[in-house]
Symmetry: C2
Subunit: 148 residues, 2 copies
DNA sequence: CGATTAAACTTAACATGTAAACCAAAGGGA
DNA sequence: TCCCTTTGGTTTACATGTTAAGTTTAATCG
């Protein structure tokens, strides 16, 4: 076995801890969405579009934490499913503007109550104050640049 | 647009915040491992095996936060690459015991220094105390059950 | 002891993650 | 105006995530 002291505590732990925490939060959400045959990722995209209105794909990718190739595929699928519509931008012909449809909004409305119930349990059991702390710590971590 | 008030603050934010924080930490690690043509997931598996010695796949999956189908494929690839060896357990013929090879240990040793450098920057810039807080908060979150 | 259930994988099928190559439109500088 | 670079998207290829179904071996129950 390699000398255990050669690695720092955070090496293996932090990425795993983030994955596990994510699983706790998203597990119940995924179960809920599975009833509508929609993925966690598509749900994120719909939520972004609902909040922001018509949005170009680059911005959707940033907001929903997706890479453009993944988004491209999902957009094609979601357009076929009637959840969104797409059109080239007039000002900049490179950009594609995506808009949520009524069907997309209906899907969101359909799950709003249960989504809130799940997250209400989170706030109650975890505590609003600790949730604030966690958000702050995660946001600070995000803005680090560890490349050099 | 759907009434923004219909959703709680945490709904869209928390999963994204976890994804982004993960990206900050794993981005540099992924770049490093890409030089050896190894994925973040295989790195996690090697680290688990190096720490624990010969381990059954179920335990590896739990420790490395992977599902068994993913692990099965990776094990077949990693065995072919000569990073691990596998054998059926004597006591329980259902179990497969995986052992890291010298080549696997060599790969770990090869990246130990840079891995530590990246994570030393994390501890320095983020702060050991905040890192402790973050670990604690993530671990508490992990143990919630939001299903009911 | 036999039948049933559970556990540890494995396989298959499809969606998403990821990197690299490509394309067309926009910007910038000589 | 003509490069040249950048940007937003797409495509391709392969790895991994995820669910469901199947297989073999253990454990449990009657």
């Amino acid at each position: 076995m390699t000398d255990p002291a050669q690695f720092r505590r955070t090496d293996r732990s932090l990425p795993i801890a983030l994955l596990r925490a994510r699983e706790t939060v998203m597990g119940p959400i995924r179960e809920m969405l599975a009833q509508s045959g929609i993925s966690e990722q598509k749900w994120r995209v719909l939520r972004v579009l609902d909040e922001r209105g018509p949005t170009e794909q680059k911005v959707i990718a940033d907001e929903a934490c997706l890479l453009l190739p993944s988004l491209t595929r999902m957009m094609q699928a979601m357009e076929a499913e009637g959840l969104v519509s797409r059109a080239a931008s007039e000002e900049d012909r490179r950009r594609t503007i995506v808009t949520i449809t009524d069907a997309g909004r209906a899907l969101i409305a359909q799950h709003a109550a249960e989504s809130n119930a799940i997250l209400a349990r989170l706030e109650t059991r975890y505590g609003a104050r600790r949730l604030d702390q966690l958000f702050q710590l995660l946001d600070d971590l995000r803005h680090l640049d560890l490349d050099q």
